[in-house]
Symmetry: C2
Subunit: 144 residues, 2 copies
Amino acid sequence: MTKPRQAPSQTPSLRAAGMRQTPQREAILRVLQSADRPLTVDEIWSAMDQQRSGVPTVYRNLERFVQEGWVESLFGQDQVMRFVRCHSTHHHHHLSCEQCGRMVEVDICGIEPSLAGMEQSSGFRITRHELHVFGICPDCQAAE
Amino acid sequence: MTKPRQAPSQTPSLRAAGMRQTPQREAILRVLQSADRPLTVDEIWSAMDQQRSGVPTVYRNLERFVQEGWVESLFGQDQVMRFVRCHSTHHHHHLSCEQCGRMVEVDICGIEPSLAGMEQSSGFRITRHELHVFGICPDCQAAE
DNA sequence: TTTGTTGCAAAGGGTTTGCAGGAGA
DNA sequence: TCTCCTGCAAACCCTTTGCAACAAA
């Protein structure tokens, strides 16, 4: 058993993306960088402690980070936006722990054969797919 | 989580579920029944025309229908709830047309081998998964 | 008649916008 | 200095709640 891929992605360069380097932006990225699960805007905002900013600033910057592909936005049944640092820039899927909420990225996909079958039976031309897998993470299994 | 269900595609029996049979409920079910894609509460409400009710009534009844397993709720990137009539009572996935929004249910799944691989590599014990596939439906392909 | 439902209005809560002041470069 | 960015407050909008009137059974 190998551990989930820990992509050592580095803090993206604000300057290189044509953005000014502000303490608020750095704080938001730092918070997301160290999170192991999707965070709400409120959680990000709270975690910015000494560098706390206005909530609208968090929203505005997250939007830009998503555009840059640095961050991914997720929506759950509770109607609240959540954000995660993307560790992989390629096609990947999410594996969430139903107990602690921790989420890891999974590189293997391998569902193309199933998609081919769906194309056949439905007549659709398939362009993309989203797979979200849920389970119990190793830590929570051990705690049981 | 889901209750025992009705035969697919028939109007569910309100009475059998212990609900009173009101024109509002019948109208909501009728609208969903004839829809070929997920509808927002506003869309359902608008389509109830002569039987128009208050929006809260639509929300309250949809909530019950979801509990009964008659209707499925979906959430997209636009933060708005959408609802579809469940046609299949088994494990199934959704295939949505990116152009017209039409959605069909797909019975075949067949991604278990991939999930097994994810279990191996991640150490998670996988309990469930959600797959949403996007593409272009036959009609939109023909219209191109 | 009994009690579940509806409708209205108002509240709730997350997200977005406008705009003036502030700070990167 | 020149813009971009931030912060505050207010606006937005979808969703939920409270409560009295209504209607299914």
